[in-house]
């Protein structure tokens, strides 16, 4: 009986470790990547909505201004990100954990 118990404990620990490894190496970075991709897409969306924030006149900004009450926080964050972003590599680069 004792041996069986010990094997079960060992297996549980191993499973936990494996799950942790899988999460840390595969699942978590992947989620992060997907989220970053979503963020990038959102940035593109914002840029398409408000190009005049960067001096590009747009015929739709009058209409997309209607979205601002709902995009307020995203807008502020986006503008900061866009001004801060040094290069595309910098942004893409920090998705990888070495």
């Amino acid at each position: 009986m004792e041996l069986a118990d010990r094997i079960a404990t060992f297996r549980a620990t191993l499973e936990e470790w494996l799950h942790g490894l899988y999460h840390g190496m595969i699942a978590h970075p992947a989620t992060e990547k997907i989220e970053q991709e979503a963020e990038d897409l959102e940035d593109a969306f914002m840029l398409a909505c408000f190009p005049d924030a960067f001096g590009i006149p747009s015929p739709v900004s009058y209409y997309t201004a209607e979205l601002l009450p709902y995009l307020g926080e995203e807008y502020a964050a986006w503008e900061r990100r866009m001004w801060d972003r040094q290069s595309l590599i910098e942004r893409k680069g920090h998705q990888y954990h070495f």
Partner: protein, 337 residues
């Protein structure tokens, strides 16, 4: 524009869709060629044919008020002395201001004070871009189209800028744009949803996303406008028998043609009256020469444009108003049906 008004607006749209009776007529042309005179005269013709008619002026100078010697605002008002004729005047500047105020109010409802400041600059900027004026005007056009139920005929006396005509080509362009925006938004939300592992809540959810709802509402309005412009509208251009006016008309024709909105006819206004044959002297000689050149130009118009000249109107000594307007209306033999 709150959520509730959005829904009533779309209800209005279906109401109009059901009764396809209303016809829209757009009168365009270079500044100062007499668009207001022609559109007012045309509106009178429609009234005489027993049609309930609304004339909409978008010219900031608003000469409809002068023609009918009555002041109008941006609600349809019956024109005194003419049964079945109403008029309204749209002021795009005022529309832009109202749109801005409305959005600012919503901004204050939705966001914290600090955030409002961040976004405010963008809001102001969006309302000062060159397109804002046209966008506001276009919005108003759509409103008029949606509430056109009580009228059989709506005549738009457009403002002289080429922009108004270009405006009419917008629905397709804007629809495409909004489509792409919605696509991006959907895609990013989808990714956010996928990124949420386990029992984490995704950062954004597709259901009830206010941005998507808003874009969708916009898209429907543009679709509606595009449909009305293609199926229930006709376009007329007014021109004078002079070089500039002819060239401008050529450009407008090409623009409208590109937008798949073919022009029904041309109205040549301000033709010089011919003197009696026994008249001599400088005045008569001058008039004869002018009539001669104008005849040449009329022939040129006939030859070069593939759109028929539906009416020619002689120039008047006085401003066209009152009984003179009825005379002009009689000269205008555009079929109203």
């Amino acid at each position: 524009m709150s959520e509730s008004t959005t829904t009533t607006r779309s209800e209005d749209a279906t109401a109009v869709d059901d009764s396809t009776g209303t016809e829209f007529v757009f009168v365009g042309g270079k500044g100062g060629v007499g668009k207001t005179t022609v559109s007012s005269a045309y509106a009178l013709e429609c009234v005489e044919a027993g049609l309930e008619t609304l004339i909409v002026s978008t010219d900031p100078a608003h000469s409809t008020a002068d023609v009918f010697e009555q002041t109008f605002d941006d609600d349809p008002q019956p024109v005194e002395g003419y049964d079945g004729l109403s008029a309204m005047e749209i002021d795009p500047d005022q529309e832009v201001q109202e749109h801005l105020t409305d959005l600012k109010r919503q901004l204050n409802d939705q966001l914290s004070a600090g955030m409002v400041n961040e976004v405010d600059a963008q809001l102001e900027m969006a309302h000062q871009t060159p397109g804002a004026y046209e966008a506001a005007l276009f919005d108003r056009f759509i409103e008029v189209m949606r509430n056109a139920d009580p009228y059989d005929r709506v005549v738009f006396d457009t403002s002289p800028t080429g922009a108004t005509l270009r405006l009419l080509a917008l629905p397709d362009l804007l629809q495409g744009w909004i489509d792409r925006l919605m696509d991006k938004r959907e895609h990013s939300i989808d990714l956010y949803e996928k990124a949420a592992i386990g029992n984490q809540a995704p950062r954004r959810v597709m259901d009830g996303d206010p941005i998507l709802a808003r874009l969708q509402a916009r898209k429907e309005r543009f679709e509606f406008a595009g449909e009305v412009l293609r199926e229930q509208s006709s376009f007329y251009l007014v021109l004078n028998p002079d070089e500039l006016s002819i060239r401008e008309t050529q450009r407008s024709l090409a623009q409208l043609h590109d937008a798949d909105l073919p022009v029904e006819g041309l109205v040549v206004n301000r033709l010089t009256p011919e003197p009696e044959s026994h008249e001599e002297g400088r005045g008569a000689t001058y008039l004869r020469q002018r009539v001669e050149t104008e005849r040449d130009r009329l022939e040129r118009i006939d030859r070069e444009f593939d759109v028929p000249v539906v009416a020619t109107i002689e120039t008047r000594v006085e401003e066209v108003r009152g009984s003179l307007l009825e005379e002009v209306a009689a000269e205008l033999n555009v079929s109203v049906n």
